[in-house]
């Protein structure tokens, strides 16, 4: 692995000061900072290769098309898809999941069938399924968590049944950090005849992704949570599903022949990419993949596990602090939610912000989970490969002062 200093040097955003203090960025589950390689790739595309891909037989048009399709192939290899035709570029994981809900859910799910979600789903993998359930007369069922914030096998067997048409679940919770045993859940779902949709937005930057080993039917993620640009995301889908589905958005690019009354659609993956795509974003995402692979996801995971384990230990030393999530770094990702007794998370965020520390406060787009946990909101710190133990120490020291600011003795 590269040295930590060498890695941090590649992130210009990390060198700045806020309120005169060095920025300590611990909101990586929301979005990661961007390395120079990605910034350069995006800029170079705009400076030298910008053209509308797949149209026009001129030099730049060919260059833009090549860059865009190379990016697709790189993504396919990165997640081990069988082919680039199974990789659809979207604007983010949310759009990818909506694509599945509209194009698959709205036509394949019927009345009285069941859609199974995990209670920890992000709204992006929950609200679209509520729409499908309501429109089709299907029933939403939830997988609830055990006391240690894990998913028990008995819960899986209880909730996923022959009635289940579709299971939608994140590989890693953006609130609890729990990494779910998806390979087993997917195999069990398939045994019951269900299709399984995976939200990989949180897991992709931290774990090696292999959609074929997982046997996921659909897998969605965002570029900006894995050091790439905002506005680019990916939907992987098994070819058999994608071919049987209708387009999501309609317009240019996604067509074959357009008559006055009817249209035939382009082949995969273009059928699902209406309009001029975000080539700059795709190029940036490809550069982010190169960046991650240069370091190796195995090393990233080992390093981040170390940070998580260290932070879990240090946070438990903070008086009045309660962690929502497993206390052992094993089986979880680098996302830690907590509450400080007597302090609203928004006040916590403001107070540590004054020390230059960026953390997230709120419901983290997971309101049903918050209600289930009995917490209207939590504070959350989340790590990336550039964070350090010193930053964790600074955060813990700042957290120890929060209660005093809010008028509690200690």
């Amino acid at each position: 692995m590269l040295s930590l200093d060498a890695i941090r040097e590649q992130f210009p955003a990390l060198t700045q000061k806020v309120y005169g203090k060095p920025l300590i960025y611990l909101d990586n589950a929301a979005t990661t900072q961007t390395p120079i390689d990605v910034l350069v790739a995006c800029r170079e595309y705009k400076e030298r290769f910008n053209a509308n891909p797949h149209r026009g037989a001129h030099y730049l048009g060919v260059q833009a098309t090549t860059l865009y399709e190379n990016a697709r192939d790189k993504v396919a290899k990165f997640i081990n898809a069988a082919s680039g035709q199974e990789v659809i570029f979207t604007k983010n994981a949310t759009e990818a999941l909506n694509l599945v809900a509209y194009s698959y859910g709205m036509s394949k799910i019927s009345q009285d069938e069941e859609i199974v979600l995990c209670i920890s789903e992000h709204h992006s993998n929950l609200v679209p399924w509520q729409m499908v359930a309501k429109a089709k007369g299907a029933k939403l069922r939830y997988l609830y968590l055990a006391d240690d914030y894990t998913l028990s096998w008995s819960e899986v067997e209880k909730v996923i049944t022959e009635k289940t048409a579709l299971v939608a679940i994140a590989q890693m919770s953006n609130v609890l950090g729990t990494v779910y045993p998806l390979k087993d859940v997917i195999a069990y779902g398939h045994e019951k005849g269900a299709v399984v949709v995976v939200d990989g937005a949180q897991s992709v930057p931290h774990l090696q992704t292999d959609v074929q080993a997982l046997d996921a039917d659909f897998f969605a993620f965002s570029g900006h949570k894995m050091y790439g640009p905002m506005g680019i995301g990916v939907l992987y889908g098994k070819r058999e599903h994608l071919e049987a589905m209708s387009p999501f958005l309609r317009g240019g690019e996604m067509v074959e022949y357009v008559e006055e009354q009817v249209t035939t659609f382009n082949e995969l993956p273009y059928k699902f990419e209406a309009g001029t795509p975000n080539v700059e974003g795709a190029v940036g995402l490809a550069a982010a993949i190169d960046f991650l692979e240069k370091i190796s996801l195995e090393d990233v995971k080992a390093y981040e596990d170390g940070l998580t384990s260290y932070a879990l230990g240090k946070l438990q030393e903070v008086p009045y602090l309660k962690i929502y999530g497993a206390l052992d770094a094993k089986g979880r990702g680098p996302v830690i939610s907590f509450s400080l007794e007597g302090c609203h998370p928004h006040d916590v965020a403001t107070i540590v912000d004054s020390d230059g520390i960026a953390l997230r406060a709120g419901h983290h787009c997971a309101q049903p989970l918050m209600r289930y946990l009995g917490a209207p909101a939590t504070s959350r710190i989340s790590f990336a490969l550039y964070n350090t133990k010193d930053e964790i120490d600074a955060c813990v020291a700042s957290l120890k002062g929060v209660r005093r600011w809010l008028g509690h003795g200690s």
């Binding site: 609203h344 006040d347 419901h363 918050m370 909101a377 600011w405 809010l406």
Partner: protein
């Protein structure tokens, strides 16, 4: 950023033990206000007789800023007419949006002028204004 200008003793006092945090036995109107992004969730109840707010209270949960702002607002509007309360809400919202800066007008807000600093903190503006928007909505029922 100066935290002591935000978490003043006055604001902390109101956020921690407000005498107005209770339920009214009878109310003329009530309204729930919610900041979905941070989880502030309050319900304001008013008892209005002959156009006068004779009693007011709130329930719910939220950050120190939203709780204190609600409490100080109730302090201010109790005993006033609905019209006066609306005028004060408009002044408060104008203060936070930096549209009102006349000392004479701002002084009408009494203790609630303590939130003037929030206008420099975009991330906390929604917390400070929640109660006042909720009050405006509640009084539409009158």
């Amino acid at each position: 950023m100066d935290l002591s200008a935000l978490y003043t003793e006055l604001i902390l006092e109101h956020s921690q033990k407000s005498e107005h945090k209770r339920q009214l036995k009878t109310s003329t109107c009530s309204e729930r206000g919610h900041n979905p992004s941070c989880g502030d969730d309050i319900t304001i109840e008013l008892l209005v007789e002959d156009g006068k707010i004779v009693d007011a209270a709130f329930t719910g949960s939220g950050c120190a800023i939203s709780q204190a702002s609600t409490s100080m607002m109730i302090d201010l509007i109790k005993g006033r007419s609905a019209e006066e309360a609306q005028t004060l809400a408009n002044i408060f919202l104008g203060m936070i949006k930096r549209e009102i800066s006349s000392e004479a007008e701002l002084e009408l807000l009494e203790e609630a002028i303590a939130f003037q600093n929030v206008s420099n903190m975009p991330a906390r503006v929604k917390c400070a204004v929640l109660a006042w928007h909720t009050l405006t909505e509640a009084m539409k029922e009158l």
